[in-house]
């Protein structure tokens, strides 16, 4: 689509550059006005501070009203603020890119959803999220399957020992066998990892694996007081599967995967 084909295609940032709004990072419980320093999203060192309604507070920074692209830089800026706030507070994170027009709008939201936020903050108190992505080296697993799986090994030998065209079907069959074995191997790993972490976590969420090397992409909600236990359980698993799997373990995060906040949005140029 041509950028200039319609008046409304003019970038909201350009058309409303002078219009200031508030970028909201998260909701916390706090009576006191806080200043988290000049770490806000966007150009310039935007101060991150709180907007209050009773004992609820939104953590915000000033920004022109615009749509932030979910670039790594922007997403990291959003996360950095939440990480900073999280060190002291239980945090209900807002989605990336959430902007309110005025302080009053934020107060209005806090007021009209006070009870819901209060409940969720209570339920999430002292709970943190960890991400666990598990990747494998497919070829290495196949190599191992070819040694350990009797049927696969036999078929493979048959194929290598017989170069005739009739082996086409044997190859097909081998392919299917390997696929099936891979799937059940992956499921076995994932189940074991999951079961090992269950006793030290409060809840979990499985997200869709990214790319073709990942067999597991999960988030775990953990009590702050059990962080170390969870940590040790993950480390034990990564030792156990050292030669087969690689673990990408991240956190602590605010409970992004365990709280859904759906806000009514309007168009940036409306």
């Amino acid at each position: 689509m041509n950028e200039t084909s319609h008046a409304q295609d003019v970038s909201p940032a350009a058309s409303a550059a002078s219009e200031e709004g508030k970028y909201v990072y998260c909701i916390i419980k706090s009576h006191d006005a806080r200043d988290f320093g000049p770490v806000g999203i966007g150009d310039g060192a935007n101060r991150v501070y709180t907007v209050h309604h009773q004992d609820l507070a939104a953590v915000v920074s000033d920004t022109p009203i615009r749509i932030y692209d979910p670039t790594r830089e922007n997403v990291l800026a959003h996360e950095l603020v939440n990480e900073t706030v999280m060190r002291e507070y239980t945090v209900i994170p807002m989605s990336f890119g959430t902007i309110f027009r005025t302080k009053d709008d934020i107060v209005e939201l806090l007021k009209s959803t006070y009870k819901a936020f209060d409940d969720v903050l209570e339920k999430m108190r002292d709970k943190i999220e960890f991400g666990l992505k598990v990747l494998w080296d497919r070829d290495r697993v196949i190599g191992r399957l070819e040694q350990t799986d009797e049927e696969i090994r036999r078929l493979k030998e048959e194929i290598t020992g017989n170069a005739q065209s009739s082996t086409y079907f044997a190859r097909m069959q081998l392919g299917r066998l390997v696929e099936g074995a891979l799937e059940s191997t992956a499921n076995g790993y994932v189940m074991d990892i999951h079961e090992s972490l269950k006793p030290v976590a409060v809840a979990s969420r499985s997200n869709k694996p990214i790319g073709d090397r990942m067999i597991m992409n999960a988030a775990y909600l953990v009590e702050r007081s059990r962080e170390q236990e969870f940590d040790e359980a993950v480390k034990a698993l990564s030792r156990k599967y050292e030669d087969m799997l690689s673990f990408k373990y991240t956190g602590p995060w605010p409970p992004y995967n365990f709280v859904n906040i759906k806000l009514r949005l309007e168009r940036a140029d409306a």
Binding site: I99, L109, L265
Partner: protein, 146 residues
């Protein structure tokens, strides 16, 4: 009946099927193509993973990311064009629309629609156009084992 079959049996079925294969449906398919950002989001996540795994360096990442951002912006423009929801941007909080204004299932081909300041829900229910009078939010917890 599939299009191919219709063409094969043209003498029997005649051109009537064309009425069935309506413009509206074509429009729907095209609209979905133009406004679906799932592929780009998946690619973005894959790109981030590649960077984290060291498969690509910062420079390569920045280049590929910029390309995806362009595509994402294009989709965002189409979504606005069709009066669908876009993520990011300001949240509507003040009372803004009469109760009767909600979701009358208007056709997106109506050019007025694209210009209407559409109120929006989250990306999942991009079709919804109901603006809550008080703004407000649906807040839910998933605390299951999943």
């Amino acid at each position: 009946m599939g299009l191919l079959k219709h063409l094969l049996f043209w003498p029997v079925t005649g051109p009537l099927f064309l009425a069935d294969f309506s413009l509206g449906r074509i429009e729907g398919v095209v609209r979905e193509e133009l406004t679906d950002d799932t592929r780009i989001k998946a690619e973005l996540m894959e790109l981030q993973l590649m960077l984290e795994l060291g498969d690509i360096d910062d420079g390569e990442y920045a280049e590929l990311e910029a390309e995806l951002m362009l595509q994402l912006r294009e989709i965002r423009q189409w979504r606005e064009e069709f009066g669908m929801g876009v993520t990011g941007g300001p949240v509507r909080v003040q009372a803004s629309s009469a109760p009767g204004d909600g979701d009358p299932a208007r056709g997106a081909s109506n050019p007025d629609d694209a210009a209407a300041p559409a109120a929006e829900g989250a990306e999942e229910d991009a079709g919804s156009r109901v603006a809550d009078p008080r703004g407000g939010a649906d807040i839910s917890l998933n605390l299951d084992w999943d």
